[in-house]
Assembly symmetry: C2
Homo-oligomer: 453 residues x 2
């Protein structure tokens, strides 16, 4: 195995770079053809890795790639999940090298999707190839790579529901999360959910001259700012009524356990170039970004944003707002609470609309399971260290759905770093992490097959 | 005169439409060549109207067009001021006909600059042509048309200071304001000043994943919204310390006089398509938009504003903010107050910068003067009605400078309507107003020459 991985190192990387060159931005319909091209590429590589039945499943959105290898029906089955779509790459001007021309600098691959999730799911493709080519697969494997993760996995739910038999598995294995650092491997045991909405505030039926009308009628930008500002109180808590009602509070013991993860506030601030952190009173930075729900504006626009000065009082202002959810909150509940509240605080003189985008359930995975044990041992074998259990702040909305539809838990065996700049310009993935991931994955299969016997 | 105006009606309009086809957007450097083309066109037409010494005066920005006709040095001199530059036309998609392809609909000219100020200053060019071609000019006339009014007239001040002798006049005549309605002519006796700034709030050194960092660090959009929201209190008053200190309060008698101008709130709201007005407690809509200072956000941007959903926590958020000023407030004072205050309310965790754009002094013109009388009589002759004195909400920053440098007052003899959609999509100017203006202007010269004798 080690020999095979070493011998094929460069090819593995070249194949990933080829995949990263395809701008498979699922959110922007201009890239529709590229998204499909990425799907075709993944299908071909799954086939080449030795998997059977590789094919694209069409959806009303982007296709889902599936392949499998059933070595022995009596053995356990691992379902690998990942996504070949990527976040939009703008603002392009902030990239040091073009987002879809992957570049290696400082032992890192710089490209949109390098880590999220092309670099991570492709480790599985290569690990499977290596197992098939050397000692053979110790378990059955099914691979499902979707193209709509970054836009809410709208059609994956229906696909999963309609293909329960085909997708039947004992565990779902996902690499789309982070470790604490390359010295401190970790396994995420929970993810936040997501509620994402777009809001529009409309005043007059046309843009107005701010001299003629300014001070006399509602300015949609000012109103939108007022409304957004009112969504947090002075303690950094979200003011939407009932927002915290279902939040699962952690015990002091649980908080103490999470606090054991190494964290240096000075390093954290230095990495981000900030002179202070900000968040909900009474919680640590790690808690604020993992076990607490949040509300952030992801985009805002309105009026004149070009060069120079224009004295316009715009007709409309808009914002994209997302809320990260924690266990026991549901996106449906929170989206409804947000919508009702936001409409209720709209002043006279403007019209407010709220358009829901995608949502996702929060997720918690048990640490006292054969699956978690197998993942933990895999890290020990490859890294020489036991991974620390952590709670992640991001969302992979489909985890909860997998559990509901397929009745199995997921293992979040990610190999990224928080500093990989996911969703940001200059996203990157360490060559160390890419290769170490390929090395770790076969150990999971080995231990899982043994432990399930 | 009447015969001449009637005979040349169509040509006057055709010439204006030709001028409106030139996209002379001064704020956007992409249009630099077009701005110059508009200046050349104006120069040619001033020459064709019978004026002497027509030429472009270069500035570090856009050129100033000047021409004059001295019929008799012992007669009074009128200096006509206007501007050939226009506001940016975006959002283009809201125009029913393209902004730089003037279209006549419902007896109105639809085009960017139709009213502000091409349609209005061009009335003077044609009125002068008509006087020269028929009875001769009753006064000397100087015409100065600039190309930077919409970006703060940055270079006009220096030009005026350097050409005091050339520009020497007894009165400045400007058509860049509105009348109450086509049934109710009016003369503006005051204008608001302007302070315009751009603000930037920067958080982390890169865009962040809102799941990984959301809730733990300052979100520049949320912070910007908080800061903007805090700039008004519940009574709609600006909260910047000292903002109102120098505001000239009007006496009850003065307010009662202004309240005589016909105004129907229901019609006003219906025209704008709004169900309520909004503004400073204790003042009428007309007062809020004329004698009271205001603060409006003219543009805001930050984060992801494209199609779909992106869970980014952006590095930066920005806004363009303008304040309309009233007599005794100065742009330098207010810009400094704003800057100090805005920087002082920036929370830890972000960096805030304030970049001043242009400013302008408020202006008040006396109603008990020969000049005002001449303008008033001109309206009576052409419209059969005495014009009502009003206070305008917009700004023509250069008025105060003219008074300071040239020692003369300006007459604001505008013929537009508030509903002309200045600075907005579908700006228009009534054919009635264009022709009626050309008819009114020669009466001003006649009365002014007589009254000054």
């Amino acid at each position: 195995m080690t020999t095979y991985l070493e011998a094929n190192k460069q090819r593995f990387l070249d194949e990933l770079l080829e995949l990263l060159r395809i701008p498979s931005v699922s959110a922007d319909s201009n890239f529709k053809g590229d998204v499909r091209r990425a799907a075709e590429y993944v299908k071909d590589k799954l086939q080449a890795a030795g998997l059977d039945k590789a094919q694209l499943y069409e959806t009303p959105g982007h296709p889902i790639v599936y392949a499998e290898k059933i070595v022995d029906p009596s053995k356990p089955t691992v379902l690998v999940y990942g996504h070949y779509d990527v976040q939009p790459a703008d603002p392009y001007e902030l990239w040091l090298s073009p987002p879809f021309e992957p570049t290696i600098r400082n032992e890192r691959i710089y490209a949109r999707g390098a880590c999220d999730d092309k670099g991570q799911f492709y480790m599985h493709v290569k690990a499977i190839e290596a197992m098939v080519a050397t000692d053979g697969l110790p378990c059955n494997v099914k691979v499902m790579i979707e193209g709509e993760e970054e836009v809410g996995s709208d059609h994956l739910g229906i696909f999963v529901a309609e293909h329960k038999e085909m997708l039947k598995a004992d565990v779902i294995l996902v690499s789309d999360t982070s470790i604490i650092s390359n010295d401190t491997p970790s396994l995420e045991t929970g993810l936040r959910g997501l509620s994402y909405v777009e809001v529009h505030v409309t005043g007059a039926n046309r843009d107005l001259h701010s001299g003629v009308y300014g001070g006399g009628v509602a300015n949609p930008i000012n109103v939108l700012c007022d409304m957004i500002a009112s969504l947090h109180d002075e303690d950094g808590r979200v003011t939407i009524p009932e927002f915290y009602t279902n939040v699962a509070d952690l015990s002091d013991a649980e908080r103490a356990e999470l606090a054991k993860a190494p964290f240096n506030l000075t390093d954290y601030m230095e990495d981000l170039g900030i002179n202070d952190v900000m968040g909900e009173t009474g919680y640590s930075t790690n808690e604020r970004t993992s076990i607490r729900p949040t509300l952030d504006v992801n985009g805002i626009w309105g009026g004149y944003t070009g060069e120079g000065a224009k004295t316009v009082l715009p007709s409309k202002a808009s914002a994209k707002i997302s809320m990260r959810l924690v266990p026991n909150q549901t996106p449906d509940e929170i989206t409804a609470l947000f919508t009702n509240h936001f409409l209720s605080i709209a002043p006279a003189g403007v019209t407010v609309t709220v358009v829901p985008h995608h949502g996702g359930m929060p997720y918690v995975t048990p640490v006292d399971s054969v699956e978690f044990d197998a993942a933990s041992k895999a890290f020990e074998d490859a890294w020489g260290k036991k991974p620390i259990p952590t709670r992640g702040g991001g969302s992979i909305p489909i985890m909860a759905l997998f559990e509901q539809e397929l009745g199995v838990k997921s293992i979040l065996m990610g190999f990224g770093l928080d500093s990989d700049a996911l969703h940001s310009p200059n996203e990157s993935y360490g060559l160390f992490n890419f290769y170490k991931g390929i090395e770790t994955i076969p150990y999971f299969y080995k231990h899982y097959a043994e432990l399930k016997q």
